[in-house]
């Protein structure tokens, strides 16, 4: 027995090595998803009566659900391309031939390493009505006479949250794209130069196509995380004013944790799950088509 442990067969060893990972995945991903669907379908009300699909009907008719879905999709549609553009710009700047690479590299790593919730708190302070640096700069430049209550007005609060998310996520995009930029062979640019292509043409005809694989990877992961947006609106506005900046993740958290309505929270989570699957499927299908 002991010798078997010391020198196990290939198969035994594989099972031994893989089982901790799969046990955890089963306990923390697979089982919860099954439980989630069960909760949403077999809801029981306080008197023990079977509710059936009532939760789905309730969610469908809940204006808060549609509001949160709209906010979540809007945040995704704004911040994913936003982070891509800012990230690409940062990557192009960071790719210049600097003598010392570390200041630029550290500048891209710091926002990545910062917790999302801290980014939310810091930017909430930037947008503070009385003592925020944003109002200070705008007033010094003479662009406004009175301070604006950015986080108390629905549209401005939404915009401030999108800006914060773009700042926080663009650096990670830049790191991924920078790695992609550094893999483009220099000879391609030299050949284009000989052919008389200007910088603009080189950018669109060499840089962007060669960077496409990195862009797609970065976009997929950014989209998945954008759909789960929670930390930044929670720390900046708590979803307010009213429900103007409430996301689906915040609504799920509110029903499950604050209201202890497990059935309704689970049904919302199933909707969210479906939306994520659709988006992921869309991307994967797109990649498949491009690869073929």
């Amino acid at each position: 027995m002991l010798s078997k442990l010391r020198d196990p067969s290939e198969k035994t060893l594989a099972v031994m090595l893989l089982s901790p990972a799969f046990a955890l995945l089963l306990a923390i991903v697979v089982y919860p998803i099954g439980k989630l669907i069960y909760n949403s379908l077999f809801a029981i009300d306080k008197d023990g009566a079977f509710l059936g699909l009532q939760n789905y009907v309730d969610v469908w008719q809940d204006p808060l659900f549609w509001n949160a879905t709209q906010n979540t999709l809007l945040i995704t549609l704004i911040t994913v391309p936003g982070a891509l553009i800012v990230g690409l710009a940062l990557a192009l700047l960071a790719n210049l031939p600097f003598k010392r690479k570390w200041p630029v590299r550290l500048s891209l790593l710091l926002p990545w390493a910062l917790p999302l919730s801290f980014a939310g708190l810091i930017f909430a302070w930037f947008f503070h009505t009385e003592y925020g640096v944003v109002n200070d700069v705008l007033m010094r430049l003479g662009l406004q006479d009175e301070p604006t209550s950015w986080l108390l007005k629905p549209r401005w609060a939404f915009a401030a949250i999108c800006l914060t998310i773009i700042w926080k996520t663009a650096s990670f995009m830049a790191l991924i794209l920078l790695a992609g930029l550094q893999m483009i062979p220099r000879s391609l640019y030299e050949a284009a130069e000989v052919d008389g292509a200007n910088l603009w043409q080189q950018f669109w005809q060499i840089t962007i196509p060669m960077l496409m694989p990195s862009i797609v990877v970065a976009l997929i992961f950014r989209t998945i995380t954008a759909l789960q947006t929670f930390d930044i609106p929670y720390t900046m506005t708590k979803g307010g004013p009213g429900e103007a900046t409430e996301t689906l993740a915040m609504l799920i958290h509110k029903y499950t944790i604050d209201y202890s309505d497990i059935g309704f929270g689970s049904t919302l989570a199933v909707f969210m799950f479906v939306i994520s699957l659709v988006v992921t499927g869309f991307y994967l299908n797109h990649i498949g088509k491009n690869a073929a």
Binding site: L25, I28, A119, E190, I224, F230, D231, Y234, H253
Partner: protein
Amino acid sequence: MSMAQQHGLWSSPMLRWIAAGIVVINGFFPAVWILFTSLKPESELVQKPITWWPHGPTLENYVRAFTDQPLLTYLKNSVLVASGATLLSLVVSAFAAYAIARLNLKYRQLILTCIVASSMFPLVTLLVPIFETMRALGWLNSYAALIFPYVVLNLPVCTLVLVSFFQSIPKDLENAAMIDGCTRMGALVRVVVPLAAPGVFTAGILAFVNSWDEFLLALSLNSSPAVRTLPVGIALYQGEFTFPWPIISAALIVSIVPIALLIAAFQERVVGGLTQGGLKG
């Protein structure tokens, strides 16, 4: 790079300074602004128009951050949770990665895909059942409630980084050790583990940062102040009537510095690991 080298305009040192300036200001301004805020006495903070550079720098906000609020407890909780999650993530993912990279597995690609695909599931959808399970186990308000989910959170990145490291170690080295009389486990411990140390270290930093930063589960599963981690503890700081910005700024600096030093010291590894298995937004 080449674009820049071929054109006089693009390679001018002036332009490089401007480019570096933009990137550095973008990355550092928020943290630096919070540092300035944390050093201003309360009287200076409520002054209008606001000051930029702190005129009368003081450490009083730092003292208050530790005395008015249980910042030290939050710090301890964050260190314990993140370290525990990191160690466990490394053990679990190193086992899995070794099997995937080295053993003769029939479904190698499928196994790796399963592990990586787990990161595609939105964490918030798993929140409800995880919350219920932890409540049933009586684990709410404990370190374990966070450590186990964090291991799963770290599993895809750590496994990807470690698989590519194990693959880069020549198999002959291991075979040679086995021919010299080492058992398979002996070869693993004496040859593979030491050679994989840099990869394990990289995966460890990524796992630590991920665990240190997590907010949703920490907020939902550990509501008691005694087990709050830094991100949750600081976000829930509440003044009597107003949000206590000076103390928050000091607390933020206290929590940012350890992570900033860690990534500053191991920048190249972190970037390498991120681009190999980067899955975090």
